[in-house]
Symmetry: C2
Subunit: 432 residues, 2 copies
């Protein structure tokens, strides 16, 4: 369906009602989705096969077809995701702070949904269910724009979600599926109704959205992640964490792309790194100092800001930790960067001064992920500097409201000095 | 000075160092500013008189000249502001959550500065000190663009701040004053170096910035605030809160602009409201039902979305609380809206369903303010739906970083099933 203002208004109105819906109903709706996906599995797989057939005819690249495929295994993963989402606490209605402004005048800061979220995602149709259920649990309406190659799969999945949630008492119009490419541009103009856009796409695409909309964007840029091997590193850990960070799964944003090596341990570390990377068919591109110690290709200036997403890595020898930190802050993408060291002060310095969402000590960059962080579910990884940073769970889909409970107080009495503020922290939850 | 890329880079580099500077040094720097403003008070007043002289020659409107004036009283307020800022806790380095991912693998979510803040403010030069000191306390660099009519005052104030903080050991370049109008447009392009823009200006100006920059904006739109007088209202409270909300200070964003009256109490409430508003020279513009009960001017459709900032108010009779909530969500500015009622369920409904930063029960809309909320200091009032909402204190100038402390762990061991995540909440603060 093409996005109209009417649809956006419907989503906005639904979001107002949804913001006050209790946890039991939201969980009931999630369970209805779970049941319906289970019952209609063969239908989903059929729709997906249709999409794959069309994509194969259109010669879609095979990694994209792989991402598009929704088989029984993936559907089971989706079902497990819904189950664990049901188990999570309600992110809405949490009292963040409580203050007595004066006797009988109490201020509460209480979490609430953001409102209407616009999500633009690529071919993976399982992402539709994941995002829609996260929005539901956090009480937000969602406008979803999926890839055209997954049109049939997305259609049946959104139909299942809309019908199941309607049964449970969730207001109509809270979820809407957009299909045409022009809908994205329509969405960007609707700052009156849409409160946040989450684009899951390339760096260029995220920038395009930021340049063409007033709406706030929860953006995920590329992942140019680094490991710095300090002169006080345990070299066994340095070797195994380097290999895992690069090769455990190369096609993801939290895989390492550059290893920075302190010159004092370069001659003992680099031959070991080279040996194990050769064995694992990983190409090293080194700076001049690296090339003096191991026989590798040379890295050019472009290599330092390249997200390979492949079995390739760049290596640079640095004079000290300061050079490493500067390199990361200049060339990195503020995503995930780690240090390998036994020196506590160096670890503190690195973790304070590296300006990234995730800073790691003595472990793999691949840990930087919502599931591994124990967030239960992940909206995405944010490289924003406001609102939510790094792996974003349900808490990234809520904001707060100030609720002030009085008994007739007026400001005139305080500015005249007749009465005074107490400003006393209260240790209680909001309740009327 | 005209904004150059070099200046922005300097601010960025200073922000990295500033992010790791301990509280004692930040407080020492605040105290140096305090002392220097005190010592150089006559110089400041002289510079301000120069600005006022020029503005009077240029026939600047008298309310603007009033805002421009920085006399001994205002300087004392500025000094008191710095003192209370010193007393506030460090917003940086707070452990927001701690999780054991596995034995010896601990994840901490720790607050940290945002980075570089661009602030554009109007003629009030005391705002310069307020904003700069808030940025300092929260560890952020700041690029300040003030109004040209306050050029001399802003110059001496920023000079005082730069010199005093330098003495205390704060890195150079953390504060920079921009003066030309074209600097604003330069600022908007520098998304590589500037992390957040706080515009203090008109609604149109905030929209202009959102339309012309990728940088996140902490925006404050207009304040179209409402009071809804429920059928279960205490009418004495309704009358006194209405008067205070409108007339305690009319020229501010948290003054009420529209009063919505439940039809069941309209005939007893409206004559009382009319009487006291007449006495206080407040013009009422009423809907047709209002005009049947009291002798007032008629309100047009435009009145419902008008921020008068004056001794004028619009009044509408509504059938029920639902109509009131819908009216507020349609015509309001998501700033501050209150209900007067003794009915708990109506209060709950109103506070849940009104989509505004501040929702109030039985008290004046004028309470919606950082100082009255006890935040100690106020960056501004945000009508954003992400990051920070309502009166924003120091916590709006920080974000967080994920810090993961390991001892050699690799992801391969978890995906192979060799070891498992524990995901246990820890009740401890981050410390290496």
């Amino acid at each position: 369906m093409a996005l109209t203002e009417e649809m956006a208004i419907q989503a906005k109105n639904a979001s107002i009602k949804l913001s006050a819906i209790p946890l039991e109903i939201k969980n009931k709706a999630l369970y209805e989705i779970y049941k319906s996906i289970k019952t209609r599995t063969s239908e989903i797989i059929l729709a997906n096969k249709k999409d794959i057939g069309i994509s194969e005819k259109n010669n879609l690249a095979s990694p994209l077809i792989k991402r598009l495929r929704l088989d029984e295994n993936k559907i089971n993963e989706v079902l497990n995701g819904i189950k664990s989402l049901i188990d999570l606490e309600d992110p809405v209605g949490i009292t963040i702070s409580a203050t007595e402004l004066d006797k009988g005048l109490e201020l509460y800061k209480v979490s609430c949904p953001i409102g209407v979220i616009g999500v633009i995602f690529e071919s993976r149709p399982d992402a539709l269910v994941q995002i829609a259920t996260l929005c539901l649990k956090s009480g937000n309406s969602v406008l979803l724009k999926g890839g055209s190659e997954a049109a049939n799969t997305n259609l049946i999945l959104s139909d299942i979600i809309a019908k199941s949630t309607n049964i449970a008492g969730i207001p109509d119009g809270w979820i809407q599926l957009l299909e045409s490419r022009s809908d994205v541009n329509e969405m960007l103009k609707m700052d009156e109704y849409i409160d946040l856009i989450i684009p899951r796409g390339s760096n260029e695409f995220v920038k395009y959205i930021m340049d063409n909309s007033r709406i706030a964007v929860l953006g995920h840029a590329e992942g140019i992640c680094h490991l710095y091997i300090d002169d006080a590193a345990d070299l066994d850990i340095a070797v195994s964490v380097s290999l895992d960070s690069k090769a455990q799964y190369v096609a993801v944003c939290n895989a390492v792309e550059t290893i920075l090596v302190n010159e004092d341990i370069a001659d003992s570390f680099l031959p070991r790194l080279n040996e194990i990377f050769l064995k694992n068919h990983i190409e090293i591109r080194g700076c001049k100092k690296t090339q003096k110690l191991i026989n590798v290709k040379s890295a050019t200036e472009e290599d330092w800001s390249k997200e390979y997403l492949d079995y390739i890595i760049s290596v640079k020898v640095v004079t000290n930790i300061e050079e490493a930190i500067n390199h990361i802050n200049n060339y990195g993408s503020k995503h995930t960067d780690g240090i390998i060291t036994k020196n506590k002060n160096n670890a503190i310095k690195f973790m304070n001064l590296v300006d990234s969402a995730n800073v790691l000590l003595n472990c793999s960059t691949r840990f930087s992920d919502g599931f591994r962080y124990g967030l239960g579910a992940e909206v995405g990884i944010s490289t924003n500097k406001i609102h939510a940073r790094g792996p974003v769970g349900l808490e990234g889909l809520v904001i707060y409201k100030w609720k002030l409970i009085g008994s007739g107080q007026i400001v005139g009495d305080y500015s005249s000095g007749k009465t005074k503020f107490t400003h006393r922290k209260l240790n209680k939850k909001f309740k009327l």
